[in-house]
Structures are given as C-alpha cells and as structure tokens.
C-alpha cells in the first residue's frame, strides 16, 4: 500500500502560550511537538507497510520549524516527505489546508491517506474529511483498527460511550486515526542517520496558491477564556494543603 500521512506540528502540551499583538494568534516563540494523533497515524502507516509492503510518505505544512516533524517521521521509517513550507500555511482554515495538500499530491497515486483525528491547536477535526471530499474518496473517522482485504479495507470506528463499529470500504480512502490505536515506536540511531538521506520535497505557497481561496472562516479574536466558576486556590506546604482540602471536603462539599 502506498500511504500518505498528514502530520502537523503543534505547541507542546504544557507550553505556556502568549497572544500576538493583534490578539488573533499565538506568538511563535514556544516549543513545538508533533500533534499526538498524527504520531499514531504515522505508526499505523509504518505497521501497514511492514505487513503489506509499499511506501509511507509524510506531508506537513508550515514554516521551516515544522520540518522537524517530517525529519522525525523519516527517522522512524517513513520513506519520503513533502513540506509545504511557508508561514502563511499556519493561518489557513481546514478547507484551504486540505486544498493545499490535494494540490501538492496531484501527481501522486496513494491507496490510502491517514490523518490524526484532530489537531491539538485548532481542534477542528475537519481537514481529513474535507480532503476526502476534495479527492472524491470515501472516508471513515476515529479509526482504531485497519485490516486490508481483497475488496479494500475493514476499519474499526470508535463511537461514543464505549461503542465501536466495523466498516468495510473500498480504496482509495481517507482515514482519521485515533490516539491509542497502536504503541508508538522510537526512532533508532540508524533511522536518524538514514533519515538525512531520504528525499524531502519542498512545495512553495506559489505552487499551490491557485487551488486556494480566501479563508471561509475567520478568527476575529483569540483570548484567555473567562472563568465561569469561582475557584478557591489552596496554597501552602503540602501537609497544610492536605489539611485544608480535607476540611473543605468535610464542611463544604460534605463527602467525608
């Protein structure tokens, strides 16, 4: 199977975020990491390739820093990478991001495309499904298992409240992958070394611009959410905090 994995670089989970001057996005000077569900999507692609042969290609969009995600993926075993490199890609909505990806891969023929089920920054949970529609392919979301069969694939979808469902579907298709579908591997030293010689194709904004439009939705303002609850902060040395909390649990919450 020839598999494309769409990946994204997002701010680290516990990184303190600062707003930019116009209050429409965060300042760039934070630490970044790979979007967690995308790491699982990559791992699943590598496992499918180990089972069925083929090729794993990784793609991302964003400024130079986001190349790190591709380098890590190549070190783990991806065969080659595509980098849509421009800071302007960061501000695209889900539709335009998917359009840019579709334009960047139009000369390629993939059997299946994996994305993480959503990103930790925007959290749209849309880009994969939009990409499927643009390509005219079927899709399935929140996938926990993939088996190839003669007609195509059988996938296990996670539904709400502990329910699941198997879905049979033809290829090519787009699947959005849930965290926890597999156990992530680490890159090996040899892998890291080999990654340096693997092909990385750069795509400029100008190469895909004609496929894009102005964003269909706009972030008017980004801000620290207002608290709706009055929180009591308990402070002091650990022993004292424990005493205070037990006092609250007994006299205010009344569960002790």
């Amino acid at each position: 199977m020839k598999i494309l994995v769409c990946m994204k670089q997002v701010p680290q989970k516990d990184a303190p975020l600062k707003l930019n001057e116009s209050g429409t996005w965060i300042r760039e000077d934070v630490s970044y990491e790979v979007n967690e569900p995308d790491a699982y999507a990559l791992e699943e692609a590598l496992r499918q390739k180990e089972k069925h042969g083929g090729e794993v290609v990784v793609i991302t969009s964003g400024p130079a820093r986001s190349q790190q995600v591709l380098r890590e993926a190549l070190a783990k075993g991806a065969d080659r990478a595509i980098h849509l490199e421009d800071n302007a890609f960061v501000g695209l909505d889900a539709l335009n991001t998917a359009r840019a990806f579709a334009a960047a891969i139009k000369e390629e023929q993939f059997d299946v495309i994996f994305t993480g089920l959503q990103s930790d920054d925007y959290g749209y949970a849309q880009t994969g499904v939009v990409l499927a529609e643009l390509l005219g392919w079927p899709h399935a979301t929140i996938i926990m298992q993939i088996e190839k069969n003669e007609a195509g694939i059988r996938v296990k979808r996670e539904l709400e409240a502990g329910f699941f469902q198997f879905v049979d579907m033809p290829l090519p298709a787009v699947l959005t992958i849930q965290s926890g579908i597999n156990k992530l591997r680490y890159a090996t030293l040899i892998g890291i070394k080999q990654a340096k010689n693997k092909p990385l194709r750069k795509v400029a904004m100008a190469d895909v611009q004609s496929a894009l439009s102005a964003n269909l939705q706009k972030i008017e303002r980004l801000y620290v959410p207002q608290k709706t609850k009055k929180t009591q902060f308990l402070e002091g040395p650990a022993g004292e905090v424990a005493k205070k909390l037990v006092d609250k649990l007994r006299n205010e919450v009344r569960v002790l």
Binding site: L17, A125, P138, E160, Q165, V167, V224
Partner: protein, 331 residues
C-alpha cells in the same frame, strides 16, 4: 424569503440523542437574538415519530428527511441527503451537535456545498449585526471568536454541554411536520457499516460512583497509580483516568472518562495530574464539586475546578491520604 435557522437533531437506536435538545436550545436562543425563523430537521429512515417529538417544542416547522438509504448511518448518504435538503431550503444557519456522527459527515457536507463549518463551538455572540461563534483552541487553553467569511448557509456544531437541554421552550401548539423524501442514487454510498457493538461488558459503572479519583498524564508511571488508588480507597471512591492512561494500558478502558469513555457527574471529582483537554472535560464537567491538582497553573482543568491545588501531586497526595484516613477514623 425570511432567514431561517435549521437545527439538525440526531437520533440513534430509537431515541433522540440528548445533545439534540441542547442544540435546539442554542437554536431558540439564536432565533431570539436574530429574529430569524427556527426550524428543525431529523434525518433517517422512519423518523416521523422523532419529528413529532420535536414539533412539540417552540419551532416553526419540523422536517423529516427520509430515505431507506439513510439507515444505517453512512457519511455519504447523510451528506447527500442534507445537501439536497439544504440547497432547496437555503437556510442562513445550520446547527448540529458536535457528536462523533456529526463530525464524521459535516466537513464533507460543507465542502460539497462550497461552504465551511465552525466546529465544536461552546457559544455565540452577537455584536451589532455580526455573529461570532466561540470555540476552544489549544486544548481549551485559549478561546476564539470565529466569524463566517463566506455566503450562507453557515454550518455550526455545538459541543456537548454548551447549552442547557432542559431549557428548551415548548411550543404553544404543535409545529407542522413535513416529510421530505430524498433520492440517494445507487453508488453514492461506498462504505458498508456493520453492527454497532460494545467491546466487552463493563466491569465498573463509573456513572454510579459518588466519588471519583481520576488520574492523567501527571501520574508519570504505571507504578504511581497505586498512590491514586490508595486515595480513592480512603475516600470510598472509584479510580478513573483520562484517555492517555487507558491508551497506555495502565488502566482498563472501562475506567476512561471523556468523550470516548464514560460521562460522569459524581458528588466529588478529584483530578490528579489531568490537564483538562476538551475531550476529558465533556465527560466530567457536570460533577457537583471538582478538585484539581496540577503542577501547571495554566492547565485548563483549573477553569472548571471548585478547589485548585497548583503543585506536584506526589507531594500533595500522600499527606492527603493520611488526612482523609484521620478524618474518617475520627468520624
């Protein structure tokens, strides 16, 4: 034609999904603020009964969008059916609950219509004539007001718990119900879904627990879970976890709280080392009292906590177990 808002409710296994009422409440609030007409639609095969249920509420009209191809659910059929319906009606706004099913087809539907969806919103604001929808970003650390920069119809999905389902207003009289038969051609539906199933019988029903001690990434290692377990035992509560803990296999899946696990509302929810990603919060924000212990003072869990301890859980929990035991022994 007057501007309309259409709420597409969700039915599953013979019942209207509870969040459907929340979305209807959102629709009623928006209709009140904009003066637009509120209508509702239910999609499926043999859904007239659901339409009748909604028609008792304060809505101008209810549509039952019918086709035998709509059962079982597939994104292809739902997208095709709603596209036909929405193209005829040309509503200003289409509202849906942000369920796993909706997020499976809404991006496809919006794209097929050359439009966009603002997904997983927690509210809206009307500033003059401008409508913005509020959604969480960066796992709830920040919020954004997002507007549409394209022509209607505008698609919006609302997060579970964003509006009060019990606040839906009843109608003065039953609204008219219109059946809309949609035509879904052969070959449109490509996926073949099998029966929905539950993985294994759940050993523990956390929804019945009055006290829950829940752990997240902050617990660091599997062996540290023992500490949380001791606290749960001292309090007489159940042990639960956020998704990453169950993904790692440190606790069984039936102890997972959140959108993909159980939704709970205990008297006391004690969150240890849980940052409070949206997917977790939707599963526990209805708890009567929330206590959060986290070393990151900016963790979103503190937004909804009643009592907060900024610090290392490994410092706090041991003396806390002692104090709880003392309190229990002392009566």
């Amino acid at each position: 034609m007057a501007d309309t808002i259409i709420v597409v409710v969700e039915q599953r296994e013979g019942k209207l999904n509870r969040v459907s009422w929340e979305t209807l409440a959102a629709g009623q609030a928006l209709a009140g603020d904009t003066g637009w007409t509120l209508e509702a639609a239910v999609v499926g095969s043999g859904v007239a009964g659901f339409a009748g249920e909604i028609a008792a509420k304060k809505v101008a009209k209810v549509y039952a969008i019918e086709s035998s191809m709509l059962e079982p659910y597939t994104p292809d059929a739902f997208s095709a059916a709603l596209k036909q319906f929405i193209e005829t009606k040309q509503p200003k706004l289409v509202l849906m609950p942000h369920t796993y099913q909706v997020r499976d087809f809404v991006p496809k539907l919006a794209t097929a219509m050359g439009r966009t969806a603002i997904s997983d919103c927690i509210g809206y604001k009307k500033d003059g004539t401008k409508l913005v929808f509020t959604r969480q970003m960066f796992q709830g650390k920040l919020a954004a007001d997002v507007s549409f920069a394209c022509d209607a119809p505008w698609f919006v999905t609302f997060q579970n718990g964003a509006f009060r389902g019990d606040k839906v207003e009843a109608g003065a009289s039953a609204a008219p119900v219109e059946t809309v038969n949609v035509n879904i051609a052969d070959g449109v539906v490509r996926n073949k879904p099998q029966e929905v199933f539950k993985e294994a019988k759940q050993a523990v029903d956390l929804t019945q627990a009055e006290i829950i001690v829940s752990i997240g990434r902050g617990i660091k290692e599997q062996k540290n879970i023992e500490l949380a377990k001791q606290l749960a035992e001292a309090l007489g509560g159940e042990l639960a976890a956020s998704r990453p803990i169950c993904d790692s296999g440190w606790l069984p899946m039936d102890r997972q709280i959140g959108s993909s696990g159980q939704t709970v509302a205990p008297k006391l929810y004690l969150a240890l080392g849980i940052s409070g990603a949206i997917q977790h919060i939707v599963g526990m924000k209805g708890s009567r009292t929330i206590v959060a212990v986290n070393k990151d003072s900016e963790a979103p869990i503190f937004e909804i906590a009643d009592y907060a301890v900024v610090g290392n859980l490994f410092d706090i929990v041991p003396p806390l177990i002692e104090e709880v035991r003392k309190a229990k022994a002392g009566g």
